[in-house]
């Protein structure tokens, strides 16, 4: 399950960032920030190739003492990036799960965009989006 979910706009400012309040949130934010660099690197590497819907998993970007934190990235065609920090101590290989989570994120994001009252570039304050993200977040007891 994700411990932190972030939606980054094309200009690399966050549209939405939310993490589990238990752990030191700043650490998650930092991870998101560092993964942005990797994301950008991958985007530029693609070059002429199609923009891959599924961005490469960054893998073990930031192993910590407590548990392995992996951050995964996902880029849409409009260069909106979703970064998710996942606690991989439970299940290791969950490629499809991560993909499905990103897909859900993407769908919710498009729903937010469809809302005429939402101006692109604003922070995402949709309750539907929040609840969807909540459903994905780790249920820390």
């Amino acid at each position: 399950m994700a411990v932190c979910v972030a939606v980054i706009a094309k200009e690399n400012y966050p549209l939405y960032i939310r993490s589990i309040p238990t752990e030191n949130e700043l650490k998650f934010h930092y991870m998101v920030h560092t993964s942005l660099d990797v994301v950008d690197e991958k985007i530029s590497a693609m070059g002429k190739a199609l923009v891959d819907q599924r961005e490469l998993y960054l893998g073990l970007l930031y192993p910590t003492e407590d548990y392995k934190l992996c951050s995964y990235g996902y880029v849409t065609n409009s260069k909106v990036k979703f970064v998710m920090v996942v606690d991989s101590s439970n299940t290791a290989l969950r490629d499809n799960e991560i993909r499905s989570m990103f897909r859900k994120l993407h769908n919710s994001y498009t729903d937010v965009m469809c809302n005429p009252f939402y101006n692109p570039g604003d922070r995402i304050q949709s309750r539907a989006f929040d609840s969807m993200v909540t459903s994905m977040m780790v249920q820390v007891c």
Binding site: R54, G59, T110, D111, C114, Q125
Partner: protein, 795 residues
């Protein structure tokens, strides 16, 4: 302000009162007058009231903001409970009963007081919500028309203030109707609980489904005081309608409730009958909404685009955030547009919100667009999925309203459909993988193009093929190329197309600009190929498939006929030289009339042809004569009719194809050896030079044939022209020597040819370079994709 923690019941109650006082619907400030009235209604001594006002900070600020108002209310409750008025007391006093306001004139308040007082113990979540209704019933005032929740009892709702409802209506409404309508939502007023229709209804839902959860809570929260109210409620049968909030309680019984339950039973029954009352849209409201819809979108079956809806609802002066939430709730299918049902739901929500009702987390069932319609439509499966996605950001809905009739079916499907929803996207992603797969195939082309007619992408593959062939032909003038030529032609049209394309591209100045011609080539190629195939079916080996059967051509529009000959000859020669020869041979043969223009191309062709024939360019002048004839002879002998040759020449358009086919045929014709090549080469330059009629007679019939073919393939004009030019040139060449038969001219011709050959080769070279670059780029991109596909494990 000091932190103020309110229970849900208190929150709702206060909010309700605030809305009541907020006559200007500012949502920020309660009118002082109203507030004072309210406080007076609290039956507190004036000095207490003043003290309260001081404590809450209103006197400081001079107005009652929401927080001040809440604090004041809390202090009123504190005072009414007999506790000393302290700032700290607002938070420290536990189980504070809701402030009671007894206002003779203000039914509402009293009602509220009654209802909420019954609530006093209900500090729970919506449990607090529930009691108020009954409490309301008890309100002495006949105003008990609290039917709050029940829109049906419209009569009652005459409360002057209809709490929040009235004045602040959305712009496009008539106050009257609004009040009435607002009753529905305002029903919630008295029952503030409605503010959260979602949570509120969930208990109902559960209740209705028989779950006693809500009841349990409710009963739990119906301690003695409420009982009284309930009892009194029972005393007021007419107002029993108020007990709307006892949906579940009916089934559940607590001894306490017995009496209440009696009344509640009515309520519940009524509740069940009008399940989603608080959010139900009455006919009047609906009519109003429909009218409003018409103003925006005359077609009732049409959509209101998001932008129009945004403007419309912005007029209601609700905060954008709330409007955004309303939109999320009401746009059921998430299409960015509102249907009539969605619009009514949104409008209803706006009305409710303006009346002080809090927005639900989930769209109330009554406001759901008629799923029945959706079900009727073909996309039943989709709709539930969509519903599931839009209506249930989480998975709660199914659990919430299991009893919803129309939605029952959909709810359980929602989850599934949400999964389906994902699967759909998965499919789409799989399609992406498909495309990637295609790209993967591309690189294989150059490597395997030898034998595989990989018909993936015409253009790129053609390029690849071309490159391949060109490389091959250039590298070794042996069979490998011919197999290339043969096989493509034999195996598939595309391959032939590829090869032909290569030819064409090779001939064209910029190998890729002639994509059009490429596309056109296939047709011709196809034609040729088919012909060839038909012939070649039997000779899969090096022997090129028989050249396309002669096509009777009424007229020879181009000297391309000559080109054909030359082409064949060249190709034959090329076969010997290698596949590479073909591409250059293919270039569109310019028509004789175009000879001057395409001269450049012709040389290319010619050169291409010639290069391969490079064996003895000097021989060209002599050989052309010979070549032509021999060509014809050979062609005739080898199934490749002169016609075919002529056709080859005549089909400048077809050159690419023909090249392929020619190559095929030329393979056979290869027997004629370089002579033919030279002949064609010579003929081409000759044509180029002459570019007209001096062409030998043989070309003419060919021309005719070519012409017919040309007519069939108009697109490749470019190539054909070029090739035609070349062919013409070549064709003319032999004629020249024949006609002149002088060394000088022969030498000049040969010089010309050599120059042309040089140009052709140079062009070829540049084109090949380009192709190489493209292929390299493709390779790089593919490698990148491959890397992407491979999960990264670095860092």
């Amino acid at each position: 302000m000091e932190g103020l923690t309110l229970s849900d019941a208190e929150q709702k109650y206060y909010s309700d009162l605030f809305s009541y006082c907020d006559i200007e619907s500012t949502k920020k400030v309660a009118a002082n007058g109203r507030v004072l009235e309210l406080f007076r209604a609290a039956q507190l001594p004036n000095d207490v009231v003043l003290q309260i006002m001081e404590l809450c900070g209103a006197t400081r600020l001079g107005y009652f903001g929401r927080s001040q108002f809440y604090i004041a209310l809390k202090l009123v409750a504190v005072a009414q409970s007999g506790f000393p008025l302290r700032v700290e007391s607002i938070n420290t006093v536990k189980d504070l009963p809701l402030p009671r306001f007894v206002a003779s004139k203000n039914e509402q308040e009293s009602r509220h007081a009654a209802s909420y007082s019954s609530d006093s113990e209900n500090q729970g979540s919506y449990s607090g919500v529930i009691p108020p209704p009954p409490g309301r019933g008890q309100v002495k005032k006949g105003s008990v028309s609290h039917d709050t929740v029940q829109p049906r009892t419209s009569a009652d709702q005459q409360e002057p203030a209809s709490p929040v409802v009235s004045p602040q209506q959305s712009p496009p409404t008539s106050p009257h109707t609004w009040r009435k309508h607002s009753r529905h939502p305002s029903g919630g007023n008295s029952e503030r609980p409605l503010a959260g229709p979602g949570p509120f209804w969930s208990p109902f839902g559960e209740a209705q489904s028989g779950s006693s959860a809500g009841d349990a809570v409710w009963s739990g929260h119906s301690p003695p005081p409420p009982q009284e109210t309930w009892v009194s409620f029972a005393d007021t049968p007419p107002t029993s309608t108020l007990l709307t909030m006892h949906p579940a309680s009916v089934q559940d019984q607590t001894t306490v409730r017995t009496v209440a339950s009696a009344t509640t039973a009515n309520e519940i029954r009524r509740q069940s009958s009008s399940y989603d009352d608080p959010w139900k849209i009455t006919d009047e409201q609906r009519q109003y909404y429909v009218n409003q819809f018409k103003t925006i979108q005359p077609d009732l079956n049409g959509f209101i685009p998001g932008s129009a809806a945004k403007e419309f609802f912005t007029k209601s002066k609700l905060p954008i955030l709330e409007l955004s939430h309303i939109w999320e709730l009401s746009d059921f299918d998430k299409d960015g547009a509102l249907t009539l049902d969605e619009f009514c739901a949104a409008f209803h929500l706006v009305v409710a919100r303006k009346n002080g009702y809090d927005l639900p987390e989930k769209l109330p069932e009554s406001l759901m667009p008629k799923l029945i319609d959706l079900e009727d439509s073909a996309d039943v499966g989709d709709q539930p999925g969509e519903v599931g996605y839009s209506g249930s950001p989480a998975e709660a809905p199914p659990s919430k309203s299991p009893s919803m009739p129309s939605l029952n079916q959909t709810w359980p499907e929602l989850n599934q459909s949400s999964e389906q929803w994902e699967t759909f996207s998965e499919r789409s992603s799989s399609s992406q993988t498909l495309t990637q797969f295609d790209s993967n195939i591309a690189p294989a082309d150059p490597d395997t193009a030898i034998v595989h007619p990989v018909p993936i992408r015409m253009t790129p593959s053609k390029i690849h093929m071309q490159e391949m062939e060109l490389k091959r032909t250039g590298s070794d003038h042996t069979n490998p190329t011919s197999p290339l030529l043969v096989k493509p032609s034999d195996l598939s049209e595309e391959s032939k197309i590829n090869s032909s394309v290569k030819f064409a591209s090779g001939n064209t100045v910029d190998g890729y600009s002639s994509s059009d011609s490429f596309t056109s080539d296939p047709e011709q190629i196809g034609n040729n190929v088919t012909h060839q195939r038909s012939h070649s079916g039997t000779s899969p080996d090096n022997t090129a498939p028989p050249p396309p059967p002669p096509r009777p051509q009424p007229s020879h529009s181009r000297s391309s006929s000559l080109d054909m000959n030359r082409t064949f000859a060249v190709t034959t020669g090329q076969q010997q030289a290698g596949v590479v020869a073909h591409p250059p041979a293919v270039p569109p043969r310019p028509q004789p009339s175009q000879a001057p223009g395409p001269v450049v191309h012709r040389p290319v062709d010619a050169d291409g042809l010639i290069t391969h024939t490079s064996t003895s360019p000097q021989q060209i002048p002599e050989q052309p004569n010979f070549a032509d004839f021999s060509q014809f002879e050979v062609f005739a002998a080898s199934n490749v009719n002169e016609e075919q040759d002529d056709e080859a020449e005549k089909h400048p358009d077809i050159l690419p194809v023909e090249k392929a086919s020619d190559s095929a045929s030329s393979l056979r014709v290869a027997k004629t050896d370089s002579k033919i090549e030279e002949k064609t080469a010579a003929s081409v330059p000759a044509n180029v030079s002459k570019g007209t009629t001096p062409l030998a007679p043989p070309p003419k019939p060919v021309r005719r044939r070519l012409k017919s073919e040309d007519e069939l393939r108009p697109e490749v004009d470019e190539h054909t022209q070029k090739t035609g030019v070349l062919a013409a040139v070549l064709a003319s060449q032999p004629s020249i020597p024949r006609s002149v038969g002088k060394d000088k001219k022969a030498i000049q011709a040969s010089i010309r040819r050599n120059k042309e050959t040089n140009t052709v080769l140079a062009r070829l070279n540049s084109e090949l370079q380009q192709q190489l670059k493209d292929v390299l780029e493709e390779r790089i991109s593919l490698e990148v994709q491959l890397e992407q596909l491979r999960p990264f494990s670095h860092l």
